[in-house]
Symmetry: C2
Subunit: 450 residues, 2 copies
C-alpha cells in the first residue's frame, strides 16, 4: 500500500508541497484539507483588487481546485477543517460536509498560515471596519467601497498592507488618513526608506498620523469615526493592518513545539519535533540566512519554496527548505521600497555583529539620459568581518536592485566582494557605477576607516 501525505491548508506552502510530492512520486496519496473555499491564491494581490486594477478575485488564483484535482491528481477537500492532530496515532480529525472523521497519515504538513492581528480596539465589529486577512474579506472591502463610496478612510498600521490599502482607497476616491503607532511607517525597512516613503505619501495626499495609537471606532451600525489619543476624526471605512500572527493552535494542541518567535519550530528540512510532521509557510519559522537563527517571515516566496522542498522530501528525495533573508518589496503609489537581510542595527548587535551602515542617493540612469529617478540605497555590514548584513532601496524606479544585495547575502559576500561585481551599465538602465556599487564603495571606505 502506498504512503499517504496529508496537508493542512491549501495556500502557497500547502499546495506547493502537495504538487511537488505528487509530481516526484505519483504513487503517493496526497490529501489536502482547506477549511475555506479558496486555494492557491495570491493574498498579496488583494489590495490591487480593492484598488480596481484586478477585475475578478478569481484572477488572484494561480491554480484552481479543479486543476489540482484533475490535472495534478491531488485529493483536495475544500470546506474541510482539521480540528485535531494525533501524532501518536498518525491521524488528523477533520470536520466537513456535516461530518467528523479521522484521516490517517504517513507524512503530515501543517500549513495553517497566519491571521491578521485584531488589536483590542472598540468597535471592531462595526460595519465598514475590516482587517485584510483573506479573499472573502478582500471581496467584502471592495463591495463596501463600491456601495458606499467612502469620503474618508482610516487605515490603521503603516506596514506594507497599510500602505498598499492607502493607495487602493485613495485611488477609489477616499481621503485617506494613515495611523501608525511607531515614529515611522515600514519599520522593518529602516528610517532611510521610511522618510522617503512618508514624504511621498504626503505628496500623494495621504494624511499621516505617526506616533499615534488608535483606540477604536465609533458609529451607528457602521463606522463613522476613528478614535486616537483622546481625539477622533470622521472615517467612512476603516482597514486595520497591524501585522499577522501565525496560526499555531492546532499544532500546539497536538504537542508540536513552537519556537521563540511564537511560530512552529522546524529543522532544516522543515520537520517539527515529530519526524513525520512538517510545518511551512506563515505558521512556521524559517532560518535567517544572515543570523543563522530561527525567524518568522510570513512571505510568499519563503512559503512557496519551503512547501516545494518538503514535497520533495516526502517524495523520498530529501531537500533542505533553505533560509530566508526577509526580502520584501512594496509599492507606495509611484514609489518602490525594498529591504533584505538585517537592516536594524540593534538586531544586528543582538546577533553578534558590529553593524556599520551608509545611505547614499544616486540616479537610476546616466545623468544625461531622460527619465530616471533618484534611488536611495542603504547597506549594512559587519565592521569586524566586512560581511554584508542587509540593505534597503527606495525610489521611483529600479528598486528590484535589492536582488543584487539579496544574492550577495545568499553567497555570504563581504562588501569588498560585492564592490567588485560587474553590474550592467548602459545609459538608459544605469549610471556607469550602479547605485548598489556606489553604496558598496562608500561603505567599504567607512569600513576601512577612511
Amino acid at each position: 500500500m502506498s504512503d499517504t501525505f496529508v496537508v493542512v491548508g491549501g495556500d502557497a506552502a500547502g499546495m506547493s508541497a502537495a504538487s511537488k510530492a505528487k509530481r516526484e512520486n505519483p504513487e503517493l496519496d496526497v490529501v489536502v484539507f482547506e477549511k475555506g473555499e479558496w486555494v492557491s491564491y495570491a493574498a498579496c494581490g488583494m489590495p490591487y483588487y480593492v484598488k480596481g486594477e484586478v477585475e475578478d478575485l478569481e484572477d488572484l488564483v494561480a491554480v484552481t481546485p479543479e486543476e489540482f484535482r484533475e490535472e495534478r491528481d491531488i485529493d483536495l477537500r475544500t470546506g474541510h477543517e482539521v480540528v485535531g492532530v494525533d501524532p501518536g496515532a498518525g491521524t488528523v480529525t477533520v470536520e466537513g460536509e456535516g461530518e467528523t472523521f479521522e484521516q490517517p497519515y504517513d507524512h503530515l504538513l501543517v500549513a495553517t498560515g497566519a491571521t491578521a492581528v485584531e488589536p483590542p480596539f472598540d468597535g471592531l465589529d462595526l460595519d465598514g471596519v475590516f482587517t485584510i486577512h483573506d479573499m472573502d474579506e478582500a471581496g467584502a472591502i471592495e463591495d463596501y467601497v463600491t456601495e458606499r463610496s467612502p469620503d474618508t478612510a482610516a487605515v490603521v498600521g503603516g506596514g506594507y498592507v497599510g500602505i498598499e490599502m492607502a493607495e487602493a482607497l485613495s485611488a477609489r476616491g477616499a481621503d485617506v488618513h494613515l495611523y501608525e503607532m511607531l515614529p515611522h511607517v515600514l519599520q522593518p525597512f529602516g528610517d532611510a526608506v521610511a522618510e522617503v516613503v512618508e514624504e511621498h505619501l504626503r505628496a500623494q495626499g495621504v494624511h499621516l498620523h505617526l506616533d499615534t495609537a488608535v483606540s477604536g471606532f465609533d458609529g451607528e451600525g457602521s463606522v463613522e469615526r476613528v478614535g486616537f489619543e483622546g481625539e477622533s476624526r470622521p472615517a467612512d471605512i476603516a482597514v486595520v493592518g497591524v501585522g499577522v500572527a501565525p496560526n499555531t493552535q492546532l499544532a500546539a494542541d497536538a504537542g508540536i513545539e513552537l519556537g521563540e518567535t511564537g511560530a512552529i519550530a522546524t529543522d532544516e528540512y522543515g520537520r517539527t519535533n515529530y519526524g513525520n510532521v512538517y510545518a511551512a509557510g506563515d505558521c512556521a519559522e524559517a532560518r535567517n540566512v544572515v543570523t543563522g537563527e530561527p525567524d518568522h517571515v510570513p512571505l510568499a516566496l519563503t512559503a512557496n519554496r519551503a512547501g516545494r522542498a518538503i514535497g520533495q522530501t516526502v517524495a523520498g528525495d530529501p531537500e533542505p527548505v533553505g533560509g530566508t533573508a526577509g526580502t520584501a518589496i512594496v509599492k507606495a503609489f509611484d514609489l518602490g521600497a525594498a529591504r533584505t537581510g538585517v537592516v536594524d542595527e540593534q538586531r544586528a548587535r543582538e546577533a553578534g555583529f558590529d553593524p556599520v551602515s551608509v545611505s547614499i542617493s544616486a540616479p537610476t540612469r546616466a545623468h544625461y539620459y531622460p527619465g530616471g529617478a533618484e534611488l536611495t540605497v542603504t547597506l549594512v555590514a559587519d565592521g569586524e568581518s566586512g560581511r554584508l548584513l542587509g540593505g534597503t532601496v527606495v525610489g521611483r524606479e529600479g528598486t528590484k536592485r535589492v536582488d543584487t544585495v539579496a544574492t550577495a547575502l545568499a553567497a555570504g559576500m563581504t562588501v569588498s566582494e560585492l564592490q567588485k561585481a560587474d553590474l550592467a551599465y548602459a545609459p538608459p538602465f544605469s549610471p556607469v557605477r550602479d547605485p548598489i556599487l556606489t553604496a558598496a564603495n562608500v561603505l567599504e571606505g567607512k569600513l576601512d576607516g577612511e
Copy 2:
C-alpha cells in the same frame, strides 16, 4: 621631491586613475595628456545625442577639464599627444601646442582606449559615411542628419552600437537597413537574445540583412548606395559599427607586451611588463572572473574601476583592479537585452567547462497585475561542478535582473546556491518566483538529470 604620475588618455580609465591618485595622495604630481579636446565623456551616450534625446554633446561630459584642473588639481593637457614612451629613461615624448617635449614619470598609465575598426570597404571616405568612434564624430553624424534628413540609412554591424544607431536614425525619420555578416545580431548575447531582438527590430520597421557582407559604399561626393553580396541599395547615410580594436601602437613601440587578445597584457594590479607602467581601459586586458583568463572587454565600468584601483596603487595603497564578467546591457527600441559571464558554449568548453544551459520565458510581474512583460532568461552552468558560468536576459522591462546573475558570478555561486537566493516579490514588481529563480530551478533540474 614628490613623485610624478603621468597618464596617457583622458577618458574613463585615465581620469578615474588621475582623480583617485590625487585624492589619496595630494603630494603626487598628476599629469594627464589627452590628444583630443574631450575628456571624461560618456561614449555610450553618443547614440542618444544622435537620436535627439540628449540636447548637447557637452551633456555627455561627466567632469569638465576646468573642474579637473581647478577642483582636483590635476595638470590636464588637452590637445597633447604622447608619441613615444621610453621605459628605460622613464620619460614620454609629447607633442602639443606646436612643440615636442620630454616628460619624466615615476608611474605611467597607458589609457589610450580603442578605435572603431575600419573594414576594407570601398567608399569609406565619402561624405555621410561614419564610424562612431569619438565625440567629434557623433557631432558630425548629428549635423549630417539635421542637414540632409536622410530617407534611408545603412547601419553596418549588429552589435550594440549598430542597434543603438538603428534606433537613433529611425527616430530621426530614416528607413533603416541593418547589415550583419553573422547569422544573428548581438553575437556575444547568444541566439536566445538575438531572436527576440531581431523580431522586435523588424516589428519596429528595421530591415535586417543577416548573413550579409557589405562590400562598400558608392556615390558622387556623398554616399548614395550601399553594396553587399553583389547587390546594392540606396543609402543617404551610413554608419559602420563593426567593433573596436585596442590602441596599442604606442605601447608596442615601447616594448610593452601585448596579450593573446591583442590588448596590453596586465597583472592583477593593472601593471604591464614594466613595474611602474600600468595599462587600463579599452586598450588593456582584464581578467575574466569566470574563466580566470585574460580577456579584452572594452566597457566603461571595467575601465572606470581599473583606473580607480591603479590610482590608489600609485598613491601608495595597492589595490587589485578586479575582474570582469563582460556584463553588458543594450536598449533596442522598447526592448532591453543583457548578458554576463560566459554564454557561448564553445567558449565555455575551451575554458575547460562542460556547459549545460536552459532558456525560459516568464512574466516580470504577477500574472494578474497590469502591465509587465515577458522576460526570456538563459542561464549556463558547468555540468560537472554546477557552477554558474553566465546568463542573458531580454524583454521589455526588468532586464537589469542580469545583475543578480553577475553578482552570483562574482561570488562563484553554483546554480543550486542561486536558486536559494531570497529575491524580492510583490505583484507590481515580480511573480512570487522571480524569472531568474525560475531559470535556476529549471537548470538545476537539468543538471540533476531530471
